[in-house]
Amino acid sequence: MSVTTKEKVLARRPDSLAPAVTHYCPGCGHGVLHRLVAEVIDELGIAERTVGVASVGCSVFAYDYFDLDFVQVPHGRAPAAATGLKRARPDLVVFTYQGDGDMAAIGTAEIIHAAVRGERFTAVMYNNSIYGMTGGQMSPTTLPGMVTDTTPAGRDPAEIGYPFLVAETLAAQPGAVYVARTRLGDMASIVKTRRALLRAFKAQLDGEGFSMVEVLGSCPVNWGMSPSEANAFVAREMVRHFPLGVFRDGPATPPAVAEADGGGGRGTGGNVSAARGTGAQRPAQEGTGRGDA
């Protein structure tokens, strides 16, 4: 793409995003989230020392889509590989890119303990409440009543349980310094997601601790919706079960410190208690916690 020097560039492909055509279905939010991560890495000027860790799922080919160093690891083990990378080479910027099937099911132990240990990498999660790559089976974050290949009558919480609230769970761990949930769809929400990703990577650059952004997105094909309808479903239904907001933003806090002085210890008490009070049935709230997402 040639752009003459006389013109001001308003929007173009970020350098950290490879020019490959992705295999993602029409309207899939993975493409948008890839671009946002690449934009943030470009903005921070860290492309030469960034290593991504690709997961298993639709985003398994992320290593072809980012113009960054990448490793691809077994299902769910991205946080474990990222831990090794970051500990061996603290000068690197390390991030994982995982879906809900990868992070919230087979990789649950890895991601929770990475947060518990306060590993200094950034986890990016694309949550679309379904196993997309394998054809649309129920995932741990499938909404109650949602029809999938394996829940043809809709997910019944009485039998199969409730969606797993990943961001709230990770935010409650003392090693986490920045945990937010945002969504894709409209322009404003995408800009907020970009801002959250920027904050998460900055937390890593500052060596503060574990950072994570859970991004709600669509799966138009497996949901049986048009891309537009699928985005509307995210905005209308998904946020009822997955409240948007910043659940943790502050230095890693040993629980004993937070409790000893009523939670205000190092300026994070409010966020920690807000995260702990989050239940599965909490109604949708934009901007839970503090600030916007």
């Binding site: 793409m1 752009v3 003459t4 006389k6 013109e7 001001k8 560039v9 308003l10 929007a11 173009r12 492909r13 995003l17 055509v21 992705t22 993602y24 279905c25 029409p26 309207g27 899939c28 939010g29 993975h30 493409g31 948008v32 671009r35 409209d186 322009m187 995408i190 800009v191 138009p220 048009s226 891309p227 537009s228 985005n231």
Partner: protein, 71 residues
């Protein structure tokens, strides 16, 4: 208003139509021809109405758009 140049990489487009919906000025529409990927791609039908708000670029999952403004 400075002229906005919309450069389309039409052969990347998968025809999801999210940009057409996002554009507040009806600059975009879906073409009738089929592109290299087998989709009907987006096309510019009213470039003169574009304000360079970037909405199309922001919502596009496939980075079809490059927007420039004459300096």
């Amino acid at each position: 208003m400075a002229e906005i140049h919309i450069q389309l990489d039409q052969d990347r487009c998968k025809g999801c139509e999210l940009c057409v919906e996002a554009c507040p000025r009806d600059v975009l529409a879906m073409a009738s021809h089929i592109n290299a990927l087998g989709y009907q791609p987006v096309e510019v039908v009213a470039a003169e109405r574009c304000t360079g708000c970037r909405a199309c670029y922001v919502v596009c999952p496939d980075v079809v758009f490059t927007l420039t403004r004459a300096a």
